[in-house]
Structures are given as structure tokens and as C-alpha cells.
């Protein structure tokens, strides 16, 4: 309640008290620039976290989805074994969809290796069943049941080569979040230092205000207001620049999907206005703390 009122005062409040802080001190610009730089970086870190998050999700999904069951059996048993696999899959929880590949699809997959002229229909090709699973799919259990009941069936879920990618994406996401908190911390530290620098530089002003009967809150408010507004303005600038920069990043594409696609998509853009708000809040709290403790110290 008290904080809220102070915040409102700081945002809208006493323009008269504002006058007593020297207008365009260099530390003020330092604050604006710092906030802008931090916001710019925050936007990037946010974009990185979001993009890698999306990526990790997509891959985690496709891990469960893109499994293949290969049924190698003599032609006369093939249909029966495929049916047996289908029955097992139907009885397995967590299988969203299972679909035997058409021969033409299979031929397309093999073309790069075998050429277009291979008489596939004369070959004892294995049958392939594409399985789409959900997160609940118990892969180990399924594998064991297949081995027990349909000896010719092999479950291949590609985990071997995709897992490290998902792990890497997860790490990058963590890294992005780490960078975000680092940036927020740096912003707070810098705004605090800038406010302290301003307070130290304006010690004569503060002394005069005290001598003529100003209360601590009056002095603190003048500084808090100034620095909150400047930090928010700087952060807004940095956010806009960061937004523009990320918009010019390479587009997400099917081929290079994991490396590119750093830009914001859809609703994620709505996160951006939060950056200057957050910067303003950090600046408000940091300046207020700096001001009050400095005032207590100057005595």
C-alpha cells in the first residue's frame, strides 16, 4: 500500500520537488544509457530463452512422435505380424496414432540410396509403421512387449541422436534465463550506483534542503522520481531497438530451424512492454533504497 502510493507519487507526483534535483546531470544520462543497453540485452536474452524453449518443446514432442516400427518377416507372415503390432499399439496407453507406411512413401525414402528404378514390389521389404506417441508412452514397456509377441518387429525412436539436441536446447534456455537474471541484477546495481553517484554529487543540494527544513521523504522522492522515469525511458528505448534488431534476425526455417528463428513470434511480442516496466520498478526500488540509506548516512 505504502509502496504503491510511493510508486504513484514517483510516477506522477510532485513535479515541484523534481526541480530541486539538478536537471541534466551526466549521471542521469548514464542511467538512461545503462537502462537502454540492459533492456536491449534483455530483449535478446528473452528471445533466446523463448526460441530455445520452443525448440526444446518441439524436439521433446517429436521424440515421442517420430518413432518407427520396422516389421521384417517373410511376405506370407507380414500382414499377420503388422496386425499383431497394430493390436499391441492399440492396447498401449500413450499411442496417439499408428499408421503403416504406404509402399510409395517407403520408395520415396529409399530413393536416394537405391535409385528410382528399383523394383521394390519384387523385394521382401520390411513393413514400416509410423507411431505417434504422447508423453505418457512407456517406450521400454512397448519394446519388451513387441519383442515378446512379434519377434520380427523393431522399435526405433531415434532417441539416440536426438536426445543430446534436446538437452542442448534445454541448457541454452537455462542460459537465457540466467542471462536475464544477470541483466536484471546488473541493471539494479547500475541504477543504484548511478543514484548514489547522483546523491553524492548533490550532497550540497541535499544539505541545503535539509537546512531549510525538508524531510527525508521529500528529498528521496525528488531523486526517485527522476531516476525511475529515466530508467523506464531508457529501457523503453532499448526495448524498441532490441525488438527491431530481433525482427531482423534470420527467420525460423524448416532447414536451419534450430539455429535461426530467434525472433519473437505472436503473443511473445506482448512480453516486450514488460521490460521497461520492470526496469522502472527495479530503478524505483534501487533508487529509493539508495536515497534513504544515503540520507541516513549523510546525517
Amino acid at each position: 500500500m505504502n509502496r504503491l502510493r510511493a510508486l504513484l507519487d514517483a510516477a506522477l507526483g510532485d513535479r515541484q520537488a523534481d526541480r530541486v534535483v539538478p536537471p541534466a546531470g551526466h549521471t542521469v544520462w548514464l542511467t538512461v544509457l545503462t537502462a537502454a543497453a540492459m533492456a536491449f540485452l534483455a530483449v535478446f536474452a528473452l528471445a533466446l530463452s523463448l526460441a530455445t524453449g520452443r525448440l526444446a518443446d518441439r524436439w521433446a514432442d517429436s521424440l515421442a512422435q517420430a518413432a518407427t516400427i520396422r516389421v521384417s518377416a517373410p511376405p506370407e507372415q507380414a500382414d499377420a505380424q503388422v496386425a499383431a503390432v497394430a493390436a499391441i499399439l492399440a492396447a498401449t496407453p500413450g499411442v496417439a496414432d499408428a499408421r503403416p507406411l504406404e509402399e510409395t512413401e517407403q520408395a520415396a525414402l529409399l530413393e536416394p540410396w537405391l535409385g528410382p528404378d528399383l523394383p521394390l514390389d519384387t523385394l521382401p521389404l520390411p513393413r514400416l509403421i509410423e507411431v505417434t506417441g504422447t508423453e505418457d508412452l512407456d517406450v521400454e514397456g512397448l519394446r519388451q512387449r513387441l519383442a515378446a509377441e512379434v519377434p520380427g518387429a523393431t522399435y526405433d525412436d531415434h532417441t539416440r541422436w536426438r536426445a543430446p539436441l534436446v538437452q542442448a536446447a534445454d541448457r541454452l534456455r537455462t542460459l537465457g534465463l540466467l542471462a536475464l537474471s544477470l541483466i536484471a541484477g546488473t541493471l539494479a546495481a547500475m541504477v543504484t550506483l548511478a543514484a548514489q553517484a547522483a546523491l553524492a554529487a548533490n550532497r550540497p543540494v541535499i544539505r541545503v534542503l535539509r537546512l531549510v527544513g525538508a524531510r527525508d521523504a521529500y528529498v528521496a522522492r525528488a531523486f526517485t522520481r527522476r531516476y525511475t522515469l529515466r530508467a523506464a525511458a531508457g529501457a523503453a528505448l532499448g526495448t524498441v531497438l532490441g525488438g527491431i534488431a530481433t525482427a531482423f534476425l534470420p527467420e525460423a526455417s524448416a532447414a536451419g530451424g534450430f539455429l535461426t528463428g530467434l525472433g519473437f513470434t505472436g503473443a511473445a511480442w506482448l512480453l516486450l512492454p514488460l521490460v521497461p516496466l520492470f526496469a522502472g520498478l527495479v530503478a524505483f526500488l534501487a533508487t529509493r533504497r539508495a536515497a534513504l540509506s544515503a540520507l541516513a548516512r549523510f546525517e
Binding site: 537546512l211 527544513g213 525538508a214 521529500y218
Partner: protein, 224 residues
């Protein structure tokens, strides 16, 4: 109004003021004299709560300054107008704003006081310089602005530290008359000065007492 009870003060390197007892009743007029470095400024600071005694007590309006918080002191300072020896101003505000500063920080309506303010600036001869900033003033002009700021709030007590150190004789006389006039209106006045001619001139206008500070002790009521 102001009472020192065995008050002593030390900046850390030996005792500067020791066991001073002194009562400045409301409506009194005192001069404080003494050699340079005797502790006049220090004594005045004790009297408006800028310093707190290291022994004994200073009572302002019956309250011990050591018991006042920073906000309590702020409140008290609005009732005591002070002219500092090194006139302290906010350099990026105009003289008019600086003189109005006590009104600003106590949340008074500046517009309502505008007439008062202009009259006061005229009185101390600063009307033509009201829009200038403090560093653009001459030494004497700054001292006059400091006096104007000290009395803008219509305080009960006026404390002035060498208010005429940089001012020519005629202007000194004028400021003295102003202080005498305020004293006649019931204000308590305490002026530290080394200008003996000023004190002699004052005797004709008000019944002032002279306090001499030397060697850390106060000889109250000493005549010149």
C-alpha cells in the same frame, strides 16, 4: 525558546565548547562575538539542531534536540530562520526560487506567497537580480539573499552567522534595521559577528545583549 544546559561540544580533537549554559528567551536580541575559531558557528549550529551537544543538553522550545529524529528536526527548522556563514544555495535554481525554498519544502502554496516574496527581495535590494542564479551574485548579494531566505517563513527565531561580513556599511545598517524591526515584532534574534561597529549601531535601535565566546566559555552580558 533556546536553552543550553551545560552543553559542551567537541569535534574529536579536544573539547571546543564546555559546559555552556545560556537561555535565549522569546523576543530577545543577542550578539555573539569572539575571536576567529572560538566556536561561534559551532554554538549557533547547536542552537538550530545542526549539531547535537556531546555533553549536556540543548532545548529548543522545551524539547531536547538529542531526542529529535531527522523529521522532527526538519519540522523545528521551519520555525528557525538561519543565515549561514557560507551562504548555502542550490546553484541551479534562481535566487527567487532559493529564497522561496523553505516554502517549497514545507508544501506551502507558492502563488499565495508571491507578493510577500517580491516585497522581501525588494527590501534586501535583490529585486533586479531575482532571476539570476547564486553563482552570478556578488558576495554581498548572496548574504542578503541568505537573510531573505531566513525570514521568508516568518520564523519565531532568526539566527545569523556573520550576516554582514561581505556587505558595505550602508547595506549593513539596512539589514540591521530589518532585524531590529523583526525583533520588535517579537522574534528572537541571535547574530554572530566580528563587526563591532555594527553592534554599536544596533544598541541605538534595540536592547541587545552581547555574548562573548572565548576559550570555550561564554561571558554572558559582557558590555563592549
Amino acid at each position: 525558546m533556546i536553552e543550553l544546559q551545560n552543553a559542551g561540544y567537541s569535534y574529536g580533537h579536544g573539547s571546543l565548547l564546555s559546559e555552556l549554559s545560556l537561555a535565549l528567551p522569546s523576543g530577545s536580541f543577542h550578539f555573539l562575538v569572539g575571536p576567529s575559531g572560538a566556536g561561534k558557528t559551532t554554538l549557533l549550529k547547536l542552537c538550530y539542531g545542526d549539531l547535537k551537544p556531546t555533553s549536556g543538553a540543548v532545548m529548543l522550545d522545551g524539547r531536547d534536540t538529542r531526542g529529535m529524529g531527522r523529521d522532527g528536526l526538519a519540522q523545528m527548522r521551519r520555525r528557525i530562520g538561519v543565515v549561514h556563514q557560507d551562504c548555502q544555495f542550490i546553484d541551479h535554481l534562481t535566487i527567487r526560487e532559493n529564497v522561496a525554498l523553505p516554502l517549497m519544502v514545507s508544501g506551502r502554496d507558492l502563488a499565495a506567497e508571491a507578493g510577500n516574496l517580491d516585497q522581501l527581495l525588494g527590501w534586501v535590494g535583490l529585486a533586479p537580480r531575482a532571476a539570476a542564479r547564486p553563482p552570478e551574485l556578488s558576495g554581498g548579494e548572496r548574504q542578503r539573499a541568505a537573510l531573505a531566505r531566513a525570514i521568508i517563513m516568518d520564523p519565531e527565531v532568526i539566527i545569523a552567522d556573520e550576516p554582514t561580513g561581505n556587505i558595505d556599511w550602508e547595506m549593513s545598517q539596512r539589514l540591521l534595521s530589518l532585524l531590529a524591526e523583526l525583533n520588535r515584532l517579537g522574534k528572537t534574534v541571535l547574530v554572530a559577528t566580528h563587526d563591532l561597529a555594527l553592534i554599536r549601531a544596533a544598541k541605538a535601535q534595540v536592547s541587545a545583549r552581547v555574548l562573548r565566546l572565548a576559550g570555550g566559555v561564554l561571558q554572558a552580558g559582557a558590555e563592549l
